[in-house]
């Protein structure tokens, strides 16, 4: 179980994660695995008492849920290890290619030194297990540099005199 931060503020997590054979309970917000989503898609999308999110492993492509994104409130992208950066690109696909406006949360091996990069790729929520990271975020520490050479999913932030392609956000 991790600690949820939304926009770097600690929150209670209203979402219940459903994996494997577990039945999907009514009346609550659930994040289901891609397997469950695909096998119970009709029932899940027909539900009107609780929101739905989907959890994707690195190798489960965004295209598998692309057609249903307007019905989903959360997409959770896993970092099985901090060194596996697949989900950075998937967040960008969600935001840039599909215009997804719901919550994109990073889960798994989320570490403080990566939070800033994740935000720039479109993540706005994190479920953190790493103690040092929880401690730092709780104190409001985020060591990310605030100078960027290139636009990412955060391309609306513009620095003074910036070239478009070399956006130098000074936020």
């Amino acid at each position: 179980m991790g600690t949820l931060f939304v926009d770097l503020d600690q929150r209670d997590d209203p979402w219940i994660s459903i994996e494997g054979e577990q039945p999907v309970p009514d009346g609550v917000d659930v994040i289901v695995s891609l397997d469950i989503f695909q096998s119970q898609r009709e029932e899940l999308l027909a539900r009107n008492d609780g929101r739905i999110g989907v959890y994707l492993e690195p190798l489960e492509p965004v295209s598998a849920i692309a057609g249903d994104l307007d019905r989903l409130s959360v997409v959770a992208l896993n970092f099985p290890s901090f060194a596996d950066g697949t989900s950075f690109s998937k967040a960008r696909q969600l935001r840039d290619a599909h215009g997804f406006e719901g919550e994109v949360r990073g889960v798994g091996d989320v570490r403080i030194d990566q939070i800033g990069h994740m935000q720039r790729c479109g993540f706005n929520a994190f479920v953190v297990e790493n103690d040092a990271t929880i401690a730092a975020l709780s104190k409001g520490d985020n060591p990310a540099l605030h100078l960027h050479y290139q636009p990412a999913a955060d391309e609306t932030k513009t620095g003074p005199g910036a070239k478009r392609w070399a956006r130098r956000a000074l936020d």
Binding site: P58, H148, Y149
Partner: protein, 558 residues
């Protein structure tokens, strides 16, 4: 050359401050080595066999004299008075103390240098033709594009944790001096039928365990689309590259397993989606970066120099050096000088602080304050007046840097190998030194002609052995060092991977084996003009095999 603006300065300085804090936390024990490792790697700090090693980027191999002097200062103050120029246009310091590294980085930042992304699974220092902006055969200077790529790839949030390291090279001429086809992305600046600038794009080249020549993915990408096209390639790779096995994680394996046609479709689809977006390069932005690389104010000079001719006539050693180490410049009356850091018996690519200071001085006095580092581990003075060549030569001679062997058999590329590197399976520097001694006679070297010999101390191939006309790979077998020989590799525009010729040689046999190969070539070449590589391509491995492994004499039946 490129000069930092306020933003670049602030960026690099805040990065140094960030790392200083992280090192302090490591030294105090607050950060474990495990947690510190990804951080130090992103700042170019490796843990070697005996000590930490710091790898400093020399973006696209271009330096000014002040920067070269700073490298000398660092070698003197924090290291054992020398540095090692690598095959990626970087310089490595082998003996810094961890506590000193933040100060070294601060010193580097003061002359607009850094060690960002010189290691780790990210986009590495972008390399370029070391004759860029000077060579007579150039279509356009590749460095403005390399600089644009440097900016775009620096701490790109999406691409810091790729499946594996990612190397980009840019060339600006039809002749490839940067081994472009052995990079993850290779870009060749060219003009299309409408005379517009753009790039031929190659992907999936690389050396290492599974060497591959890159495949062309696009004949022409417009200049304005440079970043969109590269970002599309990187995104497809980051999403689909293998992470289950680090030996299969480079983009070359993805190209190989997915097929270039299928992969190209994915890249093109992503490119189409983003090409009209923020990454599209406005013409005025490209031109403003280009302005940093404007040619220096060359004098109008005749294309010949009586002074040079007289000096050559008077000094045969100088004449020989001019013949080997001086290349044609695009401006009349100027030449490009290759300073071979390959004196007889020296470790390839090593330079002492005193040598670096001399090079800095020569760059300042004779080359418009510019120096280059080549992937062949040499230093280049790109803009020298023909009239000044003798003065440059004399100064180099006085400091042991006038080897007239550029492109010859003793202009060896060798990685650090077992003398320094934690991954090594064999030594490579002593092998290079012995071969260099055996062939030290310059007459003999010149008789042999162009021959690229490259040595790696393990399968990772930092010494580019697959791309050597003669390649040597050190392996370990039953506790002994054994050297495997490959033939016919090439890193130029006719890129090829060398073929393994047969069983390996012990360390006391390898120099003899090289000599046998050379003698076989000399005996069988069609003329003095046929190079080793050409002769090998004509004859194939058979005569070389026969010479190296003579069949045992048949015993007569009774």
């Amino acid at each position: 050359m490129y000069r930092y603006d306020e933003f670049d300065h602030e960026f690099v300085e805040s990065r140094v401050a960030q790392f200083r804090d992280q090192v302090a936390r490591r030294v105090s024990g607050e950060l474990s080595e495990d947690n510190f490792k990804p951080i130090r790697l992103q700042n170019g700090v490796y843990l070697q066999l005996h000590a930490y090693m710091l790898r400093v980027a020399v973006p696209y191999g271009t330096l000014n004299s002040q920067q070269m002097r700073m490298l000398a200062h660092i070698a003197r103050k924090y290291d054992r008075d020398y540095g090692h120029f690598t095959t990626r246009q970087n310089i490595q310091f082998n003996w810094p103390k961890l506590e000193d590294i933040p100060d070294i980085l601060a010193d580097l930042a003061s002359v607009e240098m850094h060690a960002i992304q010189t290691s780790g699974n990210c986009i590495r220092n972008v390399t370029a033709d070391h004759f860029a902006g000077a060579s007579a055969d150039e279509i356009a200077d590749p460095r403005p594009y390399a600089e644009i790529l440097r900016q775009w790839s620096t701490v790109h949030p999406e691409f810091l944790f790729l499946p594996r390291k990612f190397k980009i090279a840019v060339i600006g001429a039809g002749v490839d001096r940067a081994a472009m086809q052995f990079h993850d992305i290779g870009l060749e600046v060219k003009r299309n039928a409408a005379d517009e600038l753009g790039f031929g794009v190659f992907i999936g080249g690389g050396l290492g365990r599974t060497p591959m020549v890159a495949k062309q993915v696009r004949d022409f990408v417009a200049e304005a689309d440079l970043l969109s096209y590269c970002e599309a390639i990187l995104r497809v790779y980051n999403l689909s590259g293998r992470r289950d096995n680090k030996y299969k994680a480079r983009i070359k394996i993805l190209v190989h397993e997915t097929g270039i046609d299928e992969l190209k479709q994915q890249i093109e689809a992503e490119f189409e989606r983003i090409r009209e977006g923020v990454l599209k390069l406005p013409d005025e932005d490209v031109r403003s970066i280009e302005a940093y690389f404007a040619a220096p104010a060359f004098e109008e000079l005749p294309n010949e120099s009586a002074k040079l001719e007289a000096a050559q006539a008077a000094d045969p050693g100088f004449a020989r050096w001019v013949g080997r180490n001086v290349s044609a410049h695009k401006a009349p009356g100027y030449a490009i000088v290759t300073v071979a850091l390959k004196g007889t018996g020296e470790a390839p690519g090593d330079a002492t602080s005193a040598q670096m200071d001399v090079l800095a001085g020569l760059g300042e006095a004779y080359s418009f304050d510019e120096l280059r580092v080549s992937h062949e581990q040499n230093v280049i003075l790109p803009h020298v007046r023909l009239d000044d060549l003798k003065a440059v030569y004399d100064a180099l001679l006085a400091h042991g840097m006038a080897s007239a062997n550029a492109g010859l058999i003793t202009d060896i590329i060798a990685c650090p190998g077992l003398d320094y590197c934690a991954l090594a399976t064999a030594r490579s520097i002593p092998v290079a030194q012995e071969i260099s001694q055996r062939f030290s006679d310059l007459d003999r070297q010149n008789e042999i002609g162009e021959l690229k010999l490259k040595i790696s101390g393990c399968i990772n191939a930092c010494g580019h052995h697959h791309a050597g006309h003669i390649g040597i790979l050190g392996v370990e077998k039953r506790g002994e060092e054994l050297y495997q020989v490959t033939l016919g590799g090439s890193g130029d525009e006719t890129a090829a991977i060398g073929e393994i010729i047969g069983r390996g040689f012990a360390s006391d046999e390898i120099t003899n084996a090289v000599e046998t190969l050379v003698d076989t070539y000399l005996a069988r070449r069609l003329s003095d003009d046929e190079t080793f590589l050409e002769a090998y391509r004509r004859m194939g491995p058979a005569p070389f095999k026969e010479a190296l492994y003579p069949p045992a004499p048949a015993t007569e039946a009774a």
